[in-house]
Symmetry: C2
Subunit: 398 residues, 2 copies
């Protein structure tokens, strides 16, 4: 398994494009429309926001993924087409129809995703211009343009590809705010030239998302528009992957690695974030309990401002573990900042303040929390909370 | 029912004091030890943090409240006596013993509460000095000194009293960070000269706390040291209040008013807060569902930064309602900023942006959310999230 160039167009049989269509405003020259196409029939699996205010495109694309076959996904940034009523659903469908017509594929096999401002109808003339521009610009090296076009407050495009030996996996993603630890709070589009059944891919994607995109936190908000899609078009020319085989396990491992890498990339580029902090909880009665404790620390505003201040305020870490709602014996509590143990048996350990502060001055470090003797463990990734987050979000729209 | 001066010493038979004992550091001249005493036997009810890392004084004081009788509560700021192991419990008890000895009352009737830094043993020599100083300084006009002595990051002392006709109710409180919407996340000491049974008072206090201190949010953290205590000493000389009577209902209404007023005072003085925002949800299937939606908005970092930015970003409000985990028909969703309807039938209503912005420029305003035709409703109070919160919390300890 090695990293390669090419993003979502690294696997065989995919083309992509990204163009500027002024969705972000008449004066914007930024790319804001993206298209990914599989040249051959492909299966697709998706995971979506659990917000009941699902944006219109999510409702459309859930239908596509339920049927399990797709040839393309069109995406725009700058407008989420959320809280837009019946008009929003019509617009999503009209966008899919434009792409379907251009590619000569069934409209039911075209996914659409939108991200950006909520409550404003899509500017359909510009969206259709963007769709036409993407259809013209499609190329086997178009991944990077597509990754650029889906950015919102992201500061860097997120793109990667793995060569897993026989098959390849590629991905692009966007998302740096509204990152809550519950279902794919971003866009992530994954492609592979492996052959796999839609139902098998769906289960595998769900597992991978559970341990990656569902374990990250920038703020505690969950968007109306989040989606993870995985296309598999079989163009590597290999047999269908079957659970239980070595080939399947290798593919699963690669897909999991892609999801974790992209999830961490989202956190690293979190709005206003200057640090990526790994929260590792072990010794809980169950993995679920461990995850609840990890989430509690990852979401704590007080822990996150302490990370920003590079202040080894161990009381806040212990406190957030304590209010997670999971029972444990406080006398068993241990906490480490990287290799420095700061809490032992529920009380401050013997350590030098400067050692702990040095760990926190790093751009990336780990908080390890042990809560007893059980086998349950979990990992979460979070950011610090600093002034830049406030600045970015206090006036996002103007 | 009218507001009067005197705080916790306004009801008959109470004395209080607040002194400086250098708990906040050798150079600090701030008051940091407080004592409240009932001169006659009194019943007491308490509500406490649900954090499993309960500070030692909380464990001691829960025992006092379980027995239901107390003559005094001693409080210190500057050190929470939390995560301090067996030594912490010994120190809490030794503090109670010093007060009990000074007052000549049973140690089992002396509550103790500590707030401040976590994980550092109490400086017992200074605590005992503070206890002695308080015993000497006790006075029937000592409420204000006590309110000052329990402040941590509070910028103003919180104190009030109501004359409810036959009986009086007084209160002091502290708390401006670590205000989470779950159990009394602060200190609030309430006194009354009404006569009431301990069990009846306990149930009533629990109800009042549910609708006041459990409905406020500054950040999403819950402290190890939070407590609400209510003393009732019967010194007004009236019959014991019995549920179902008009006198009881009048008392309950006054107690609820005290709790709501003090809860809002905590939010108004929330760390770094420049706004007090009331979140009112109605039309839910149950009050509990309404509360879940209100809490979701009150805790949303994106809504809170929009409040700070005075940006009527209605998408964030709708979005936070949508991910609360409560089912409702999106097409029924209505949102108002004070009198300005900004969302109707799940879509942006017809309104002038400037009208909505003008509402948000106020120091206090209300967000009203209607989610359908049910009778469930709830109110939450929250703050904005601005730079000052980050500045205060990025380096609290130094």
């Amino acid at each position: 398994m090695m990293n390669i160039e090419g993003g979502v167009t690294a696997p065989a049989g995919y083309r992509a494009a990204g163009v500027a269509a002024h969705i972000k405003g008449p004066a914007s020259e930024k790319k804001d429309c993206a298209l990914l196409v599989s040249d051959a029939d492909a299966v697709v699996a998706g995971t979506f926001t659990t917000n009941i205010l699902k944006a219109a495109p999510i409702q459309w694309t859930e239908g596509v993924c339920m049927r399990g076959r797709a040839r393309a996904v069109f995406m725009n940034s700058g407008n989420a087409n959320a809280c837009t009523g019946a008009k929003g659903l019509e617009d999503a469908q009209a966008t899919a129809e434009r792409i379907a017509g251009g590619l000569d594929v069934p409209v039911t096999e075209v996914a659409v995703l939108s991200t950006g401002v909520i409550g404003v109808p899509l500017p359909m003339d510009r969206i259709l211009d963007g769709a036409a521009g993407c259809l013209e610009a499609l190329s086997a090296s178009g991944s990077h343009d597509a990754a650029l076009a889906i950015m919102t407050t992201d500061t860097v495009p997120k793109e990667m590809a793995l060569d897993g030996g026989p098959v390849r996996i590629g991905a692009i993603a966007k998302g740096s705010g509204m990152i809550a630890p519950n279902m794919a709070t971003m866009f992530c589009i994954i492609t592979t030239d492996a052959a796999i059944e839609a139902g098998v891919l769906r289960n595998l994607l769900r597992e991978c998302v559970r341990d990656s995109f569902n374990c990250i936190c920038v703020d505690n908000d969950m968007s109306t528009s989040d989606a993870g899609l995985c296309f598999a078009n079989g163009q590597a020319g290999l047999p269908v992957l079957t659970p239980g085989t070595a080939d399947f396990e290798a593919f699963a491992e690669a897909l999991r690695a892609v999801c974790v890498t992209m999830a961490k990339a989202l956190v690293r580029d979190g709005e206003g974030a200057s640090k990526l902090v790994e929260i590792r909880v072990e010794g809980a009665v169950s993995d679920e309990d461990a995850k609840t404790i990890a989430r509690s620390i990852a979401q704590s505003q007080l822990c996150k401002t302490a990370f920003f201040g590079e202040d080894p305020n161990i009381g806040r870490l212990a406190c957030a573990a304590g209010y997670a709602g999971v029972g444990f014996d406080v006398n068993d509590l241990g906490i480490w900042l990287d290799g420095v143990q700061v809490v032992r048996d529920g009380m401050p350990a013997a350590y030098e303040e400067e050692q702990a502060a040095a760990v926190m001055r790093q751009a990336e470090f780990a908080v390890r929390v042990a809560v007893g003797q059980g086998g349950g463990e979990a990992v979460f990734w979070t950011t610090d909370l600093g002034h830049d987050y406030v600045t970015i979000n206090a006036d996002y729209r103007t």
